[in-house]
């Protein structure tokens, strides 16, 4: 694996909440353009793992290097690193006090990435891409779940990140809205975006993932291509999990 191709390098990551050790020893590399799907039962630590990648959770031990920045190092300007890693949340987390356009241009303008005019033009382009050009003036409370999540993805893209993290992006959606969000994610994957996706959508994993990671009990139990992990799992726990969700 060529070193300069590694976007995220995680080695011996540990994370505890008080006495509860959620991540026990996780090591993984994500290379440019890879779509890594993280599967696992609830409580397996997969969301915590994802949240450690942009340090929304403080890291107890181990090393996480993103884009060449060691984010476990206290001296690293985490805000600078985060500009380059977008995150999409289960509950969308659109800013309720701002309309769609306000959501899209807040970070780029506040962080002096773009003038207001540039940010607005870029936001319109992104909204068109996720099919919500007509919602630019709407407030989050006026949108459906699927629309909110597509805006959230567009908002993350507005910072022009190299990496996108998805934390169960379709888990809070009504079933008929899952498709529209997955569609946007598929499109991003095909354009070469580096993505780490925590999800329960096995179909998405099979179709889009370049690698599937199965986590349980704070460890990576099994990883490989979708065919290897989903169709020919070797570990008993993976087989057990898949038999319940498929």
């Amino acid at each position: 694996m060529a070193e300069n191709n590694v976007k995220i390098h995680v080695s011996h990551l540990k994370k505890s909440f008080g006495n509860l050790e959620v991540l026990k020893d996780v090591s993984v590399d994500v290379t440019q353009g890879e779509v890594v799907v993280v599967l696992g039962p609830s409580g397996s630590g997969k969301s915590t793992f994802l949240r450690c990648l942009n340090r929304l959770e403080t890291i107890t031990d181990g090393q996480v290097i993103v884009d060449g920045y060691d984010i476990t190092d206290k001296k690293t300007d985490i805000n600078k690193v985060r500009e380059n890693i977008g995150m999409v949340f289960q509950h969308f987390n659109l800013f309720n006090n701002l309309n769609v356009m306000g959501n899209m241009i807040l970070a780029p303008t506040e962080l002096k990435k773009a003038t207001k005019a540039e940010a607005t033009a870029n936001a319109l382009k992104l909204l068109k891409r996720v099919g919500l050009l007509d919602k630019a003036e709407a407030y989050p409370s006026q949108l459906s779940g699927g629309q909110k999540q597509r805006v959230a993805i567009a908002r993350a893209l507005a910072m022009n990140p190299d990496i996108l993290l998805f934390d169960e992006p379709t888990s809070a959606l009504d079933p008929e809205m899952v498709g529209e969000v997955l569609q946007v994610m598929k499109q991003l994957a095909s354009e070469g975006m580096t993505m780490v996706v925590v999800t329960h959508e096995i179909g998405f994993a099979r179709e889009v993932a370049s690698r599937v990671i199965f986590m349980e009990g704070g460890y990576i139990v099994e990883e490989g291509t979708p065919e290897e992990v989903l169709d020919h799992p070797k570990e008993a726990r993976t087989i057990d999990f898949l038999s319940k969700v498929l």
Binding site: I85, L106, E110
Partner: protein, 224 residues
């Protein structure tokens, strides 16, 4: 009654003006104190949290009349004892403002803390995940949402503070109650004078709370 109004009306109106002046001074500094200590209590920093808790508990645990005596008589006495005669003197307005802003500030801090905590954690996380620093995220995303839920409590606190100015009659500030006492002493018309005073408070506070309601409705419009 008519005679009381014509004779002492001007005096009582001036006193009402002093009451409002004191309330405004107190509220202004209370908002600043409330914001500072409210923010200290939500920071992820134990020392800041403890400082805020001590401030709020200390002020809430002391009756305002005691606080007023303490600031107006106690503090200058202490400093003068340490630094010599008349080193520190406070006017009744200064002492009253300090007293009101400390008292109201402590309650405001609690309102602001609760308001910020009522905003979903995900809002801050989303803002931070985009690379916004903590204070920018707080100022642009969390506080605007918190303020909307805080408004009814803040209005309530303003009204309480306005009424609490009457306690400061004990340190001789010429606000409404203090002036009314003098009027009673002069005229011996106890019932009439206190009726007039009560109606004056009632009118001011009713008008203020109506205005606040209209403001609140206007702020919330177009958001839902």
């Amino acid at each position: 009654m008519i005679r009381i109004i014509t004779t002492y009306g001007g005096l009582l109106l001036t006193a009402m003006g002093q009451t409002l002046l004191l309330a405004l001074c107190g509220l202004f500094f209370a908002c600043i104190l409330g914001l500072i200590f409210g923010l200290l209590s939500v920071l992820k920093n134990r020392v800041c949290n403890i400082v805020s808790i001590i401030f709020v508990d200390a002020i809430r645990g002391v009756p305002m009349i005691v606080l007023a005596f303490y600031i107006y008589f106690g503090m200058p006495a202490l400093f003068n004892g340490l630094m010599g005669y008349n080193a520190v003197t406070l006017t009744a307005l200064q002492a009253g403002t300090i007293c009101l802003s400390l008292n109201c500030g402590a309650y405001m801090a609690e309102i602001i803390r609760a308001g910020i905590q009522s905003v979903d954690k995900g809002q801050m996380e989303a803002a931070r995940s985009l690379g916004l620093p903590y204070w920018k995220a707080m100022y642009r995303v969390v506080l605007p949402q918190a303020i909307r839920t805080m408004i009814p409590s803040i209005i309530n606190q303003f009204i309480i503070t306005l009424k609490d100015t009457s306690i400061l009659s004990v340190i001789g500030f010429p606000e409404l109650v203090n002036t009314a006492k003098n009027v009673v002493a002069n005229s011996f018309r106890t019932f009439e004078v206190w009726t007039i005073v009560a109606v004056m408070y009632l009118i001011i506070i009713t008008v203020l709370s109506r205005v606040a309601k209209i403001l609140e409705r206007r702020l919330n419009r177009g958001r839902e």
